[in-house]
């Protein structure tokens, strides 16, 4: 099946015909053989690298990267206090950015008026414009409520999803409906708590 002279082989037909179909017996193209052998060599090398001289696994790499992210996040939270958040709420750029996030993320439950249930009983979230707060009305308390969520009431954990900067902006936007120093009371929870099956928070 293999005439050794490539020139002679170039157009030699095999003797057999199948329903009139004939076959040449050309040499395999070198570049084709190269990709074939190259892929096999790569496969052997890749297997050796990953299964014998095992570097970190996918899960290991992921854990390292998540630890770096967590550390980076800690560094941004330390400066936040009530005064800073009140300052942010008076900055038009911060409030505008917060409005964008709010309208994309929060309006489903709190409505674009921020009035939530009080405007439409079908809405899930409470009114954010009143001076009575269910989970505390100090800026850092609001910040904590947004970050950690109140799962039992339907407030998701926004921290891992939005990140510190966007949450500061959203809190600034909500605070822009309020005045520093205004009276702020804590209301008892309205309505019996709904039993929502608990689950681990979205990120470790």
């Amino acid at each position: 099946m293999t005439p050794d002279d490539p020139l002679k082989a170039a157009d030699s037909l095999r003797p057999h015909r199948f329903d009139g179909i004939q076959e040449y017996d050309q040499r395999l193209p070198n570049w084709w053989l190269l990709t074939f052998y190259g892929a096999i060599a790569f496969a052997i090398g890749y297997w050796l690298l990953h299964q014998h001289f095992a570097g970190p696994s996918d899960a290991g790499r992921l854990r390292a990267e998540l630890a770096r992210i967590e550390a980076a996040k800690f560094s941004t939270v330390t400066t936040l206090d009530d005064a800073t958040l009140w300052q942010m709420s008076r900055n038009p750029v911060m409030v505008a950015a917060g409005r964008v996030t709010f309208n994309a993320t929060c309006v489903a439950c709190h409505l674009s008026s921020l009035k939530g249930k009080e405007e439409n009983p079908l809405a899930i979230g409470p009114n954010l414009t009143r001076q009575v707060w269910i989970h505390g009305g100090r800026p850092t308390e609001i910040y904590g409520t947004v970050t950690q969520g109140v799962l039992i009431k339907g407030m998701p954990t926004w921290g891992p999803v939005l990140g510190a900067r966007r949450i500061s902006e959203v809190v600034a936007y909500v605070l822009s409906y309020h005045q520093e120093g205004e009276p702020s009371g804590v209301a008892p929870s309205t309505g019996p708590a709904v039993a929502v099956p608990g689950a681990p928070p979205p990120t470790p």
């Binding site: 040449y24 017996d25 689950a199 979205p202």
Partner: protein, 773 residues
């Protein structure tokens, strides 16, 4: 001489039937595709009807184009070419008829059951178990008819097309039967016997190789017959046929795990899936080269002949798809592309470009020969080609753009990589909406081209006289050429070196210390010895192969050996290893009866076709959806629901993310909570009642499969369902939503709220979580 001349009339009636069926089902399958593509752009298009939703019609689309359109096309091509290549009429007219009508009945049954929500919940394996049995039976009928015909052949040597047909028939039988093993709970419902990662591995061993051995190998065989016939040119290279056939059938089987890269699937399987996909590139391109280079000297005919236009473009698309496949199998590329439209684009290069164009070329070539009348309009066929080509290019370009855009947006982070740049999944979806619309236009053009084929062939055939081909053969009394017996087949250098090499490679892969080294050494030695033997005795290898080609049974046995190896080596260790130990650090909590009922609704509605349940070991996935999914978190999932496409967000840790009322309102109208959502409304979930009566049978089957359910009586199951449903309904009522506890929406909410729940286990002593194995 005592030769007696006889005339054989081919059974071309069956070819005509399969061909017309393929053309018809092609229209149906493409229409379904067009509708579901349009539904992604306009969610209203299901008209609030359950049986028109994307989740139920997507299986109809895939099953119709794969098994009905390409299936019938393949049967037509195989039956036409095989009879001529072996100079024998099909062995049995009865079997041919049973094959044809049985297959059409199966298709009709599928077209009825899938929209009604009867499904097994595994992609391309959705049909319910009674239909599975029918498919297996009809496939055996096909096999018997085919091999019986080979046995009666007047042409001793098997041509390369026949090799591919043999590989198709035995491999599809193997894949189909193993992936459809399940235990029925009723006449219309069953649970697959494997769960979680095992089920995932089996599913994609099947799913990937359905592409390989249903959409590729038979069509390669068809190419090897029809392309030389239509161009009048000899096949480019016989030895390329030999090398690419054997490497293709051996390597293809191993590549399945590339559908599960970066998931909870064990690392060694992911490595095999990726590397074998890369090794598949050259064997695939061997087929493309043999097709395109056969056209050397015939390129001028392309200007006028629509048949050769379709074939040349079809083979080129095959080359594109088989280059893209290995590319997408590289883990880092896959991290971007998986779950996005890029994969959809990749698939359609293959189906629209390769399968659809090869089918069109073959039909335009066959019609004048089967009805003895020239094609009604060559110009119309040429127009079909250009319209189809533009359609494919629009479709594929749209899906590439859409997939890469969405992948980049989903993976983008900001603030020094600490938070997602686009936290809202809908942002990414809104960005690609124009691309989704362009896909509809591309698909529409392709279908318009196909309708031209329907019209063209209808006008050609109308009133024409069907003719059957004939051939004159000599009934020879001369002895048949010497065939290879069992010993001659097995004790031959090619077989011995291949088997030993594979065994040594297994020892290297799985062995410890000494065995590993011995395996590595043995594999290398086998390769060297085989090379030396081949170089010293080239003629013997050639003579042996020539003898193998006149021996159909040994050839079939060796093909089976080649395709079974990869599956055995990947699947056996995975199912033999005790699942309870191989769970990483989490173990799933079995579903309550109500949650199980909800899960079956999730499967019925085809939710898995848009929502994955697999958070990959990738930072953006974890930031978006929560901690990565562990192997043990789906061990009781029969079938697994890891998904393959995210038209919506992942749901692996959906439980507890939102309150019950959120899901309730979301099922009523997703847009009330997620502005711009493309998910349909599900009003029927609020009126239909959960099928609690079916639960005792379902739970007893789950127990049989190893899910640790207590031995509940039907009354206890009923009581458990009612208690949990009442709790959910009461909670909903306090939020102002009224519903009865027996409604399907309650069961589905119960299921969604349990997703991601597992018990933590102490890590195995000595195990190093940071390393593979």
């Amino acid at each position: 001489m005592s030769d007696r001349k006889i005339t054989i009339e081919y059974n071309d009636q069956i070819v005509r039937q399969f061909m017309l069926a393929s053309i018809l089902w092609g229209v149906v399958g493409m229409l379904a595709g067009l509708l579901i593509a349009a539904e992604l752009s306009f969610w209203q298009l299901n008209f609030n009807l359950p049986w028109l939703t994307f989740g139920r019609l997507r299986p109809l689309h895939t099953n119709a184009v794969v098994f009905a359109f390409v299936g019938n096309m393949v049967f037509a091509g195989v039956y036409y070419s095989t009879q001529r290549l072996v100079k024998a009429r099909l062995a049995s007219d009865l079997l041919s008829k049973v094959h044809f009508w049985g297959w059409q009945l199966i298709i009709v049954a599928a077209a009825i059951t899938l929209p009604l929500g009867f499904t097994r919940g595994k992609e391309y394996a959705e049909l319910i178990w009674p239909i599975n049995i029918a498919v297996a039976f009809i496939w055996v009928v096909f096999a018997v008819n085919f091999f019986w015909t080979l046995q009666r052949r007047h042409e001793p040597t098997l041509y390369v097309a026949i090799w591919f047909y043999i590989a198709t028939i035995i491999t599809v039988a193997m894949l189909y039967i193993v992936n459809h093993l399940s235990i029925p709970t009723s006449f219309t419902h069953s649970y697959p016997i494997f769960g979680g990662a095992q089920d995932a591995l089996l599913e994609w061993w099947y799913g990937h190789n359905a592409v390989a051995f249903f959409l590729t190998t038979p069509v390669l065989g068809i190419m090897y017959y029809f392309l030389p016939k239509a161009s009048g040119r000899p096949v480019y290279s016989y030895r390329l046929s030999v090398v690419h056939f054997w490497s293709l059938v051996f390597v293809y089987i191993w590549a399945g795990p590339h559908h599960l890269l970066n998931t909870a699937l064990p690392g060694w399987l992911q490595t095999l899936g990726m590397t074998f996909s890369l090794m598949l590139w050259a064997p695939s391109w061997g087929g493309m080269l043999n097709g395109l280079l056969t056209l050397r000297g015939a390129w001028d005919q392309l200007r006028t002949d629509p048949v050769l236009k379709f074939f040349a473009a079809g083979v080129t698309f095959y080359g594109m798809a088989t280059f893209e496949g290995p590319l997408l199998s590289i883990k880092s590329v896959n991290a971007l592309a998986h779950y996005t439209d890029w994969i959809i684009g990749h698939v359609h290069v293959g189906t629209l470009g390769w399968n659809g164009f090869m089918a069109a070329g073959m039909f335009y070539w066959l019609t004048p020969r089967l009805w003895n009348r020239p094609l009604y309009s060559v110009a119309l066929a040429n127009l079909h080609f250009w319209l189809g080509l533009v359609g494919i290019l629009l479709y594929v370009a749209a899906m590439w753009t859409s997939g890469i855009t969405q992948g980049l947006m989903l993976n983008a982070t900001t603030d020094n990589g600490t938070v997602l740049a686009y936290p809202n999944f809908l942002d990414t979806l809104n960005t690609i909406k124009p691309m989704m619309l362009m896909r509809v236009i591309g698909g529409g053009l392709y279908l318009a081209g196909w309708l031209m084929l329907v019209y063209n062939i209808h006008r050609t055939v109308r009133g024409a006289q069907a003719v059957n081909g004939t051939v004159e053969v000599f009934e020879s009394t001369e002895p048949a050429p010497e065939r290879l017996g069992l010993a001659g087949t097995v004790f031959s250098p090619p077989v011995i070196f291949s088997v030993l090499g594979t065994l040594f490679a297994c020892a290297w892969m799985f062995g410890n210390d000494f065995l590993k080294l011995a395996g590595l050494f043995g594999t290398g030695l086998c390769v060297l010895l085989a090379w030396a033997n081949f170089e010293s005795g080239r003629r013997q290898w050639g003579v042996w192969y020539d003898r193998l080609l006149v021996s159909a049974l040994p050839f079939t046995a060796l093909t089976f050996l080649a395709v079974v190896a990869g599956g055995l080596i990947q699947i056996l260790p995975t199912i033999v290893i005790n699942t309870a130990q191989n769970v990483e650090d989490r173990r799933q909590i079995p579903y309550t009866p109500l949650e199980l009922a909800g899960r079956d609704l999730y499967i019925r509605e085809g939710c898995y076709l848009c929502h994955s349940q697999m958070i990959r070991t990738l930072v953006p996935d974890v930031l978006r959806y929560g901690d990565y999914s562990r192997l043990g978190e789906s061990i009781y999932d029969h079938p697994f629901q890891w998904g393959s496409k995210r038209n919506g967000p992942d749901l692996a840790r959906e439980g507890g993310k939102y309150p019950d009322i959120w899901h309730f309102r979301h099922f009523e109208n997703p847009r009330s909570l997620s502005v711009g959502s493309i998910m349909p409304n599900y009003p029927w979930l609020f009126t239909q009642r959960t099928d609690v009566a079916a639960l005792p049978a379902k739970i007893s089957v789950q127990r049989l499969l190893g899910v640790p359910y207590p031995d509940w009586t039907p009354a206890e199951i009923q009581a458990g369902v009612e208690a949990q449903a009442q709790t959910i309904v009461k909670g909903l009522r306090t939020e102002g939503a009224l519903t009865a506890p027996d409604r399907e929406v309650v069961a589905l909410i119960a299921y969604l709220q349990t997703l991601g729940k597992s018990e933590k286990l102490a890590p195995k002593p000595g195990a190093n979580p940071d390393h593979d194995d």
